[in-house]
């Protein structure tokens, strides 16, 4: 009960490319507790996806985990051999991806893709291979119904391209949840969807999270989604976490200039006269970064003092920021 479901400590993941060593994840530390929903916010290139790719052990050459520790229910994952990792994936830790159309294999039916996970991991299936398949098929129908696919039984043998975008995302969720994992990592589950469908999918995830007492990591670039569904949130920028804390706190009282900038650039119905201020500049290259604040080039509060290594520092109850000028509101 006290061990966090997931604990990452000083994770550093690099890619050895022909242009140089890219440090996509630079010293990330975080914790996910049981039953909690953690939101990870950041733009493309912030390292949010690679962080959790590392958790799943899916970082491929030329990428590698250079430093750090990843503990799942207390068990160290870094250096785990392939066989052990495969037992965890799909069963204890599950993942969904952003684009369900490309994530589902176009050559196989949906039933095939759900059943294979069950056959691989579900110990509750008994009997001969044929009978296992039958049981798995039954469970697959249940899962499809759980995620709200109408006429599940008749659509079970359709191909992915025969479903709409929203349905495909649900199918992906069904696949991810079929073995009742402890941790679900949802990578941009709503980015490719219409706004109305987005809400449905997120409600679905929240609902299942309650039912199964599952921990969820919600990776997104959309702060609105985080505000609505996550207990805690972490903001990532250029491979580092720049702010972390309970969602309410971070949204009401953002400390890091980047977070403030993100919130300022969201139009709000309640405040139609307010001007939207975009954040000028762009994300720095991730090669050979100097030891200084990475947001400096775009920050309006930057001073010379920012040219050193900036650590996370406490700023309020359970609220941390990577900024020496935190607390100052411009």
């Amino acid at each position: 009960m006290n061990i966090p479901v997931l604990e990452i400590e000083n994770l550093k993941t690099c890619f050895d490319t022909r242009d140089g060593m890219v440090t996509a994840v630079d010293g990330v530390s975080l914790k996910v507790n049981k039953g909690e929903c953690l939101g990870i916010v950041g733009e493309s290139g912030s390292g949010k996806s690679v962080t959790f790719g590392s958790v799943m052990g899916l970082v491929k050459k030329p990428g590698f985990i250079a430093e750090g520790s990843i503990r799942f229910n207390g068990r160290e994952l870094v250096g785990l051999n392939g066989k052990e990792y495969r037992r965890l994936r799909g069963k204890e830790i599950a993942m969904t991806m952003q684009d369900a159309l490309t994530a589902l294999n176009p050559a196989y039916t949906v039933s095939n893709q759900i059943i294979e996970v069950l056959l691989a991991h579900d110990d509750a299936l008994t009997g001969s291979r044929r009978s296992k398949k039958k049981q798995a098929r039954g469970k697959a129908i249940e899962m499809m119904q759980l995620v709200g696919i109408p006429a599940a039984e008749s659509r079970l043998d359709d191909y992915p391209h025969q479903f709409s975008g929203g349905m495909r995302q649900r199918i992906m969720i069904a696949i991810a949840l079929s073995c009742k994992p402890t941790l679900l990592i949802a990578d941009e589950p709503t980015t490719a969807l219409d706004v109305t469908i987005q809400a449905q999918v997120l409600e679905l995830i929240a609902d299942i999270q309650d039912k199964l007492v599952m921990s969820v990591v919600l990776i997104t670039h959309d702060l609105g989604v985080v505000a609505e569904y996550c207990d805690r949130v972490m903001v990532m920028y250029a491979g580092q976490i720049v702010e972390s804390g309970p969602t309410r706190d971070v949204i009401d009282n953002p400390q890091h200039p980047y977070t403030q900038g993100l919130l300022n650039s969201i139009p709000r119905l309640s405040d139609l006269d307010r001007k939207i201020t975009p954040i000028e500049g762009s994300v720095p290259e991730l090669i050979g970064l100097a030891e200084e604040c990475r947001f400096m080039g775009r920050c309006l509060k930057a001073t010379d003092a920012c040219k050193t290594l900036i650590e996370m520092r406490d700023n309020g109850v359970d609220h941390q920021v990577r900024c020496i000028n935190a607390g100052m509101v411009l």
Binding site: F15, T17, D19, S49, G53, K60, G63, M97
Partner: protein, 303 residues
Amino acid sequence: MTDIGSTPDMNKLNTVAGETLFKRNMKLFASSKLSLFFSAMAIGFILMALGAPLFAPHDPNEADLFLRLLPPAWMEGGDWSYVLGTDALGRDVLSRIIYGSRGSIFIGACVILVATTVGVLAGLAAGYLGGWVDVVISRLVDILLGFPYLIFAIALIAMSGPGLQNIIFALAYKEWVIPCRVVRGETLATRDVEYVEAARAMGASKRYIMLKEILPNILSPVMVVSTVRMAHVIILEASLSFLGLGVQPPTASWGSMVADGRSYMLDEWWLSTFPGLAILLLVLSINVVSQGLRDAFDPKFHD
């Protein structure tokens, strides 16, 4: 696109200031020792063809019956002035190989040149002008594609008889179809792009647009295809010569040299082996170079 485990987009990360993508890719190409080696080999062959009289130790047609069927120099009975041995008529194999390169390279280059020119023009017309022009050209392409390559060439040669000009035409008749298809596809893709629209708005004639706006931008796939096809054409020409339908004696041609050597396969293996080896090396170098160019220019080639 999810990027949980894949390399961040490196093409943004350019290069030294001022260096274009083309230059960078060329540098990449040159950095591969293999590419450089085979480029040198290909150039070597071309030089050999051009400077044949300078390089060949003997006259390729000079027959000396007393010296017939000499083995290569390093074998027993060999003679270092006839390094690769002599054939049934006492002609120096090495010299014949050197002179033979002229035929192969010349024919290959001619065919590709003719085919590419015709193909590009046809493809541009078909892609840009559309309508009945496209229909006619596409139909023609489909029909010509209905013939296996060698069969078509052989049929044409059966009709017109063998000989240098006839081979070139026989091969070119089918070959133009390939650049035509590529160009047509590319033209269709770029037809409605902004800069073309702009040119049209400024009142440019169709011919102008086709030649000045579209053409320069589709050249690179055409060049890639042409180099690949060159290798093919050289093998085809050699096959035709081997069958006796290509370059006629006494002109030295690698294909016919291999054919002649067949009768002596039992004891004088070198007569067929070396000319064939020459074909292999030339085609190999062309293939390696074209592959290297393709890889260097391919943005997905991260290593």
